[in-house]
Symmetry: C2
Subunit: 359 residues, 2 copies
């Protein structure tokens, strides 16, 4: 092997895109959502904190005062426990899955039990270990159905769950009748139950205090995404220019000759593509900015590169910006026909990541 003395450089040069993650903005968003009501405010940090890095985002939120965290799977809970140390409560949405007892016990996780099977698995393998209950109030994705819960409720409550929760299917659409329908179902299922309750993620928090119960659990709003329209932007993505060229009228650019120039066009090839999470579908509609000037993507998105029409930019920009003050994750999501959540969770592994600390 080369590099026995550790001589290979660790710091990337200028050839990779720079992703800046503003932890102070994450904390500001958490505080703003915390002020939206009187419930305690948790934090959803699944999917590596929506792609932004659980090792940095988790501790920043804990320092700001968050005491209840939510992850998707037990493995994520282990990573979060390493980052947070003992103390904060870590809930697992997928509940107690077969084979996870050791992980749940050792990392002190609180599985959100989704079914009779999971409840039996939990009380048999980890008697006395804390758990929560996830109810299905109508989304039909995770959690116990009303009939299942009715049959199991007394047994489950005797085991003293720490939380009872459910999830809204249409909270991004405040006027959708599904919201009140799920609220009423959840109220019915938890009537006379003396256990802390949680129904609202970011969208639910914005629906108002009736949806807050004892604990809210914002996710996407922390990271600057809709439906939290007042969110502070969190991510900036600057992509270096590899080279520029002048393309003549009638010449094509990129795979499949997808773009043909109808004017003399200055083309910049920049160093990020769909392997970096710049979703390939955004190709024909996407744009970036060069010092605030909007510059359109032309041709297809390549695996490691984009080609951009910078004819209208003066000078030779060293990089173009995909995310930042001029363009949010939701704008980029629109280019790709998706939602800001997917733009966040797709942010690539090749970016050089810099964290602005929360002081």
């Amino acid at each position: 092997m080369l590099d026995p003395a550790g001589k290979l450089p660790k710091a990337p040069g200028m050839s990779v895109a720079q992703l800046t993650i503003d932890l102070a903005a994450v904390v500001a968003n958490w505080r703003a959502l915390d002020r939206a009501g009187s419930a305690e405010t948790g934090a959803v940090v699944k999917a590596d904190a929506y792609g932004l890095g659980i090792d940095d985002v988790g501790p920043a939120l804990a320092k700001a005062g968050a005491r209840h965290f939510f992850v998707a799977a037990a493995e994520e809970g282990v990573a979060l426990r390493r980052a947070l140390g003992p103390g904060p409560v870590i809930y697992v949405f997928s509940g107690h899955m077969a084979g996870d007892a050791d992980v749940i016990r050792t990392a002190a996780l609180v599985p959100l039990i989704n079914s009779v099977d999971q409840l039996l698995c939990h009380v048999e393998s980890l008697p006395g270990h804390p758990f929560g209950v996830q109810l299905d109030s109508g989304m039909n994705r995770l959690g116990m159905e009303p009939s299942e819960w009715a049959a199991l409720r007394d047994l489950a409550l005797a085991q003293k769950p720490e939380l009872i929760m459910s999830h809204l299917a249409c909270a991004d659409e405040p006027k959708h009748p599904m919201n009140t329908q799920q609220l009423n179902t959840f109220l019915g299922m938890t009537q006379d139950v003396d256990v802390p309750r949680s129904l609202a993620a970011t969208g639910g928090i914005l629906l108002g205090p009736a949806y807050h119960f004892e604990l809210t659990r914002p996710g996407v709003g922390l990271y600057g995404g809709l439906p939290f329209v007042d969110a502070v932007p969190v991510v900036t993505l600057d992509i270096p220019v590899i080279q520029t060229r002048e393309v003549q009228v009638g010449e094509s650019v990129g795979y499949g000759n997808a773009f043909v120039a109808d004017r003399v066009t200055k083309v910049a090839t920049i160093a990020a593509g769909y392997a970096d999470g710049l979703i390939r579908a955004m190709g024909p509609r996407a744009a970036l900015t060069a010092e605030g000037v909007k510059v359109p993507v032309i041709g297809r998105v390549s695996m490691d590169m984009l080609t951009v029409d910078i004819t209208d930019v003066a000078g030779e920009p060293e990089s173009l910006q995909m995310l930042g003050a001029h363009q949010s994750v939701d704008t980029v999501a629109e280019y790709a026909g998706t939602i800001g959540y997917e733009v966040l969770t797709s942010l690539g592994a090749r970016y050089k990541r810099t964290y602005v600390p929360h002081t």
Copy 2:
């Protein structure tokens, strides 16, 4: 911090999806493409070996006989050099970018120079260090234009480049006139040049020996993707079932109530979603298999979950298969309206990865 004694378990349980990567299949594909002509056969391992892991794929290909590797950026070259040790040649498609001289020198990389600026940067910062030249034969993405090359050619050749290469824009479409046009441009630009040449990636190899020159550089075909129709499948992805439920006629499933049941439907919620690279756009069209039986995705793809109609499956499957013998990366790409390349490079970080060794 918890876990001072390293007590937190490292092995995932059953709650995450299992991604199996068959290195023997990668090697078989490399050998098949190597037999397609008499040129030397390199290997493209950019984007973390198309998402499959450069640390495992790189050494397997080197052991099989590959001596020329290609990455997108210098940082990837450093990772590959660590995995391969000294010996194999590592080319960098983005060339010599400002600030990369130390990385290029220490990791013994060969930048593929794309412009006059890059050539000047290279000979000034690393005189005598090996390099190659990338020519633009019509794609207008990377490489020197014919006019630029004509002006620079004698100067560049005096510095003794190790390789002269270009890239085809339409090689996936064998009958596209762009192929012969680029071939002729490349032949013209390299006439009477006594330097090894490379034009063909997977698609170019399949166009026939006229496109092979001295070195070919297959990428996607190694990993089981089109246009190499005879590729051996490389990846298998099995996703565990979190829970199942019966949904009544008229009930909805998932975000936005996107699916409404028109029959009593058995729904499985499984533990992978768009944060794992199961592109959200595939939602309405996608399917998985349960012991070979095709089962359709219903509702929207969630961040960490999919909901699947398993009404027609007997028994209680423990997992459903997204990729494998019954469904290729290109089939899944069709569901999402994209190409197999993007399905590969999006494969998620939460999967438990198992490598079938190349013996």
